[in-house]
Amino acid sequence: MIPEIGLFALIIAFGIAIVQGVVPLVGAARNDATMISLARPAAWAQLLFVSIAYAALTHAFVVHDFSVLYVSRHSNLVQPLMYRISGVWGSHEGSMLLWALILSIWTTAVAIYSRGLPAALMARVLAVMGLISVGFYAFMLWTSNPFERIFPAPADGNALNPLLQDPGLAFHPPMLYMGYVGFSVAFAFAVAALLGGKLDATWARWSRPWTTVAWSFLTFGIALGSWWAYNELGWGGWWFWDPVENASFMPWLVGTALIHSLASTEKRGVFKSWTVLLAILAFSMSLLGTFIVRSGVLVSVHAFATDPSRGVFILIFLCIVIGSSLALYAWRSGSVVSTGRFTWFSRETALLLNNVILLTATTAVFVGTMYPLVVDALGIGKISVGRPYFDTMFALVSMPLILLLGIGPAMRWKSDNSQRIIKSLAIIFAASLSVGIMLPFVIDGVFNIATGLGLAGALWIAITTLQSLYHRIKTSSRLPLSFLGMILAHLGMAMFVAGVTMVMTYHQEKDVRLEPGATYELSGYEFKFIGVKNVDGPNYTAQEGHLEVRDQGEKIADLYPQKRAYSGMGSPMPMTEASVDTNMVRDLYAAMGEQLGDTAWSLRLYYKPMISWIWLGCLFMTVGGVLAVSDRRYRQKRS
């Protein structure tokens, strides 16, 4: 009964979304106050019904209602409560329901916090978001109904993909979706502004905090996913350039360009039509990401459920949303005039360069992700471009970006004196370059130019960022949160660069065969293999290894890597659960390999210097984004 209520609520939400998408739009065009005023209550009503639907599906998972096909496929009786709740978004149908729920939450948040907005603009924004919702509801109702029943109901279900039974991954999709979907707000504002024909700096001011929040979620979500892959896949890697990872990275890159470009548009009234285009692009990338993940056009580790009929639907949806907004852009953006003037040596130029570099990076990822598809479409065969391409591209793109990151924030708006900048930054540049180049030599006695440049880059970003903080404190009495947010995010970038450089150069990995009692030395750490015992989890049995790690004779850590077999899985797919000892300087990482003979095992041991800096850097960026939107000036305007 409850699943039917869920389905019914979904249908009602679909109906409300249509009303929300159409009526206020017509009202705004006709200047009809009654029709315009419908937008806000419609947003609320939609949220109510989609929440009911979501709660109904969660309920079905919690009480083990296996008569619901989706539940029977992705949970079983022994699955712990946490993974029954997260199982809701463990596969396609539920993920889409979560998408719709999050979109509705964002819509309602806009309805609440943007009361100061002109009524017509507000109506258009909510209507555009409503139309996007319509697409997602239709997608669910026609191709992926999460409430579909089966008869007779099985006594027990299939387990959730064991890869997904990890706290890191349980929260990765909601965070990621908050980011993806959050870009719909900037998109809706941009489209509403194009529709209304009023593309002034106001729309930038309104959409800026929303975009920053979405960006923060996306940053955090991607970092969580990367951290999960590191701990769960047992390969010791943190990024694989997998199509699905790229699908989340592309909106991040465009989103990063967008938050910088919005700053220029809001503060200086420049790049207006460019910013609008970026807002459309950022959300288009999110939709494209969904298409890539859900249609199965690119085969990948992550594409758990794929179905071509869904692909066709999403492609049509993509055409309508992106096609029409780009057409609108082509039609309307001609009338936009940027008002601000600036010289070539100014912060505006620096931000424009930032955008150019980030979009170049996006293009590189895009080409790398889509290239296999092009080759396939031409009938040459399926290929994958893989790591070397992406690593080279990013080394090339990040150099100018890092350089710019040090200079840009130090520059003044409108026009700056190149002598002044050179004077204030030359010493930092020389110092970070020479220290950076020297560092690899200090670490292991070998000069390594690439590593040296990477570390120099990290130092350069960190020192210039701290210098602009120092200047700000010295010259101004107040320190706005938005400025602090930027400082923190840029410092995060420095940490990220440092972490990546260190891990790429100095990581050590070894596959070793060990008998119990035997030891192996890796990077000065002594790993002693104690043995293996059997451990039972709530819904799995595991062989758990035990390793003691000693540093100069002193025991510093115990590692317990596991090899798990989950019950309820038809295919015998053992999962590795790595065990990691982390600190700021290095990670010691062990994963179980194979049993060799009676007692010996093959084990994978890794030494990963400063890898935690990668995620810590992302966390800094996330917190920076949150600080930036907590700034007083946004709160005042909302009242």
Binding site: W235, F240, V299, S300, G311, Y329, L373, S384, S571, E594
Partner: protein, 174 residues
């Protein structure tokens, strides 16, 4: 004109994606099913010597197409190893790969294969109608291809389908 560029680029992209959708390899049944396995003679990945497809006869065999650049192959590898442990005869078909990368990959993740052949330029794979990696062919005692899995065998449905055919043809002895 400049304003129309994004729209035009997007249009081209849609065409590409649409073609991509129709190319979904999972929908294409292999015309080779029920036919004798295409002949090949390929060098071994480890060590000297060659392997002739004639040697596939006499035993039920899985021919597992993999490559070190393929992520899904990593994912299915545990299951391939399990199958090997359960007594299945598995021949590895290393597809469009560098010898060194492939050897390192096996050293790291374990080698469940009776024998691994290297098809560096992918010529032999064309005869087998290989779309990409991973793919797995089931060959019976008479050297007839009985089933083909496109994508990882660790996928629940792929695994069940494969096992059903294995059961059907194996009778009493593997």
């Amino acid at each position: 004109m400049q304003r129309f560029m994004p729209l035009i680029i997007f249009g081209l992209l849609v065409v590409l994606l649409a073609v991509g959708l129709t190319m979904d390899p999972r929908l294409v049944p292999s015309p080779l099913i029920g036919k004798p396995a295409p002949a090949f003679e390929l060098p071994l990945l480890n060590g000297e010597g060659v392997f002739n497809s004639e040697e596939l006869k006499g035993k039920i065999t899985l021919l597992n197409v993999w490559a070190s650049w393929c992520y899904a192959c990593r994912q299915e590898h545990e299951v391939v190893k399990q199958l090997a442990r359960s007594g299945m005869n598995i021949v590895g078909f290393n597809y469009k790969d560098k010898k060194q990368d492939a050897q390192q990959w096996l050293a790291q993740l374990g080698n469940p294969y009776q024998v691994v052949v290297a098809d560096e330029d992918g010529r032999a794979a064309i005869d087998w109608g290989v779309y990409g990696a991973p793919e797995t062919f089931l060959i019976d005692k008479d050297g007839i291809i009985r089933h083909k899995v496109i994508g990882p065998v660790s996928d629940q449905k792929n695994f069940d389908d494969l096992m059903a055919v294995v059961k059907e043809i194996s009778g009493d002895n593997l």
